[in-house]
């Protein structure tokens, strides 16, 4: 099972290590982790994707709540949230490959953001599924470097919120 944890923490030095340390010490999985500031400068938001048994996923939430630097923990399944991930891919290509690369990018609404006659950087900001799709379609090319953010998540809007 997979679960998404949106964790608001005190924006202080050392807090990321405390949260990451909790996962390490109790052998919880981190599938992905992103951190950033929120609208309130004293609060950072962490989005953590984890997988495990129902019991483990419940323990993760409880143990996160126990940390004194954690302000609020929200959990949700993928279907209850808007998910986004950004990927950057640097590809070494030949003239013969250029057209196909442009087609794939257009097809998946990815963008070619930088290029020379031998290299190009393609980027996509989309759901983790579609990012994965792009990656699988580009695997046959010579990928020189990949950088991706991990998943960002926010619960969907609801009436009367």
């Amino acid at each position: 099972m997979k679960k998404i944890y949106s964790v608001w923490v005190e924006n202080r030095s050392g807090v990321l290590s405390k949260v990451a340390g909790l996962f390490a010490r109790r052998s919880y999985n981190i599938d992905s982790l992103t951190v950033g500031e929120t609208q309130d400068k004293t609060i950072s938001s962490m989005t953590i994707l984890s997988s495990g048994t129902t019991q483990t996923l419940e323990q993760i939430e409880k143990q996160l709540n126990k940390k004194l630097d954690v302000i609020k923990v929200r959990t949700f399944g993928a279907e209850q949230a808007i998910l986004r991930e950004v990927i950057l891919l640097k590809i070494k290509y030949t003239a013969a490959q250029r057209k196909e690369l442009m087609e794939i990018s257009e097809f998946l609404k990815a963008e070619i953001v930088d290029a020379t006659s031998t290299h190009m950087i393609i980027t996509l900001c989309d759901t983790p599924d579609r990012v994965e799709k792009l990656l699988s379609m580009l695997r046959k090319f010579n990928i020189v470097e990949i950088s991706r953010t991990g998943t960002l998540a926010m619960p969907k809007c609801s009436e009367g919120e």
Binding site: Q59, K62, K67, L68
Partner: protein, 539 residues
């Protein structure tokens, strides 16, 4: 005032009277400021002992124990004691010196990242960066350590912050932390559900743990048990919640517990677990215990509920508070018949009191200590076979039983007994310890001499590391390795060196008279009991 003076003032304001410490350059400004305070500095002989003494102090005084050590090796030596306190939910304030702020991270002399090192076994830690923050931080630290599920809090103080000007001391009125609001009051709906489950029960049982003692809920729980005749078992941490002679007391559960206590728990249909985390030593087969059972789990720490045993009815809250609510109800149920059945089990108990002419039977020894010691005395047990003999034979009356349960730290008992003696100097304290554990903290005997403390050391001397020897007997076919402690030291000479009266009990026939003599008067005594290295806890 400088940071060190602010720290002293803040500790005084929290009512601190003793600090167990060991110096080093980086904590010197604080120890210097203590000279102008009424706080009594107790110089232990190692940093680990500082933490254990604060632990014994906290458990008897019912408030956080305070220890202070230096940076680097001083701080790392304290780690075991911090982990010991964390495992047993004991409130500690641990103050460590640190290299100057600007030098942190430069690997200078005696620098250690103590905050990083202890992260997984402190409740919280503060890296103090500004002297004027000290009054607020101390107030918060005491609040965090001593509320909710109690535990150790670390304050890491760079030496220049201790010397930094921080202005006048202003008392902080209250603590408000947006990230920490422990649930004290049990949820009314859950309490109703629990009562309903009890009403439908045939064979309910109460299992009490250390949380009951931490929340001082003994009276409320006994009242509840007596109201409906619910039998009570305890974990090792829960020893002392109910007197052993109480008709509803069924003894300790677990691997080393009483067979009939485990049987009673296994056969119950409603299990009320209070302030106990159902760890492996208490409940080795959770599936078996949970079979055909409703579990009502009452704990202040939500993360303990469902961690080891799946609860049917969770109640998050402070045990005392929850039982005050539970006691308001009047159910029409009475479980006297079930109690009678259990009493029949308990009569089948086999006493392991065979005596030999050559040695002292350790079970007999502990039973006789309990008969001879003062009813309100404190029994501190170390770790190893002595802990098993102690907790299985201890007879709880009005006193306290303390030991390192979760971490099982050898060498705990002597410094913890010294801490307990500072918390309540009038109490008679038994420090039951093996020769392995005693040699780990032998140097702390000096405090017994200096204080003329009413601490009776009962050394279960088998010249070996008995628990591991026993383990090697059962699991390695008697291939003993690293367990022979040999014939030195002569403990009578050690006792003499510290000026402590010494009694040697060679065989069973000497136990009763010897203990009577040793416990007759207040003050220190060193009792060495000659235990057979082949006497095993599991027979």
């Amino acid at each position: 005032m400088n940071g060190a003076q602010l720290l002293v003032k803040a500790l005084e304001t929290e009512g601190v009277r003793h600090i167990f410490g060991y110096p080093g350059v980086s904590i010197c400004p604080f120890f210097d400021a203590l000279n102008d305070s009424k706080i009594d500095p107790v110089l232990m002989r190692s940093e680990q002992s500082c933490g254990h003494a604060a632990n014994g102090y906290a458990r008897i005084a019912g408030k956080p124990g305070v220890c202070a050590v230096s940076s680097g090796p001083g701080a790392t030596n304290l780690i075991t004691a911090i982990a010991t306190a964390f495992a047993d939910s004991v409130p500690l304030i641990c103050i460590t010196g640190q290299v100057p702020l600007e030098q942190i991270g430069s690997d200078m002399f005696q620098e250690a990242d103590i905050i990083g090192a202890v992260e997984s076994f402190v409740k919280y830690s503060y890296s103090v960066r500004c002297a004027k923050d000290i009054p607020r931080i101390v107030k918060e630290a005491f609040y965090i350590a001593n509320t909710g599920r109690k535990g150790p809090v670390l304050l890491d103080l760079p030496i220049d912050v201790q010397n930094m000007e921080g202005g006048f001391f202003q008392e902080i009125e209250s603590v408000s932390l947006r990230t920490y609001k422990p649930t004290i009051k049990g949820h009314a709906v859950q309490i109703k559900k629990a009562l309903k489950a009890l009403e439908n029960a045939q064979r309910p049982i109460l299992c009490v743990g250390g949380g009951v003692i931490a929340s001082k809920a003994e009276k409320e729980i006994i009242t509840f048990a007596e109201k409906y005749h619910i039998p009570v078992v305890s974990t090792m941490m829960g020893i002392g919640v109910i007197p052993s002679k109480h008709p509803l007391s069924m003894g300790m559960v677990g691997n080393n517990g009483k067979k009939y206590a485990n049987k009673a728990m296994n056969e119950s249909d409603v299990l009320l677990m209070v302030g106990a985390r159902a760890a492996d030593r208490a409940i080795s087969q959770p599936d078996l215990v949970m079979k055909d059972k409703t579990l009502i789990h009452i704990d202040i720490d939500p993360a303990e509920i469902g961690k080891n045993l799946g609860p049917s009815i969770p109640i998050v809250g402070d045990a005392k508070n929850v039982f005050i609510e539970l006691n308001k109800a009047s159910l029409k149920c009475d479980f006297s018949d079930w109690c009678e059945t259990l009493k029949k089990y308990s009569k089948t108990r086999e006493e392991n009191l065979q005596s030999t002419a050559k040695f002292v039977n350790p079970n007999h020894l502990v039973s006789t200590i309990c008969k001879t010691m003062k009813d309100d005395g404190i029994y501190v047990s170390d770790v190893g076979q002595n802990q098993i003999y102690s907790c299985t034979n201890y007879v709880s009356k009005k006193g306290r039983f303390i030991t390192s349960c979760g971490m099982g730290t050898m060498g705990y008992s002597l410094p913890a007994a010294i801490g307990a003696s500072f918390a309540d100097p009038k109490k008679q304290i038994i420090c039951a310890v093996g020769d392995g554990g005693l040699q780990m903290s032998l140097s702390e005997l000096v405090h017994i001499s200096l204080l003329k403390a009413n601490i009776k050391i009962v050394l279960m001397d088998n010249r070996s590391l008995g628990m591991i020897r026993e383990y090697q007997h059962y699991h390695y076919e008697n291939r003993y390795s690293m367990v022979d402690l040999k014939e030195y030291p002569d403990y009578s000479l050690i006792a003499k060196a510290y000026g402590i009266p010494f009694i040697r009990l060679k065989k069973d026939s000497e136990v009763e008279e010897g203990l009577k003599e040793a416990l007759k008067t207040d003050g220190p005594c060193f009792i060495e009991a000659n235990i057979d290295a082949d006497a095993f806890t599991v027979g």
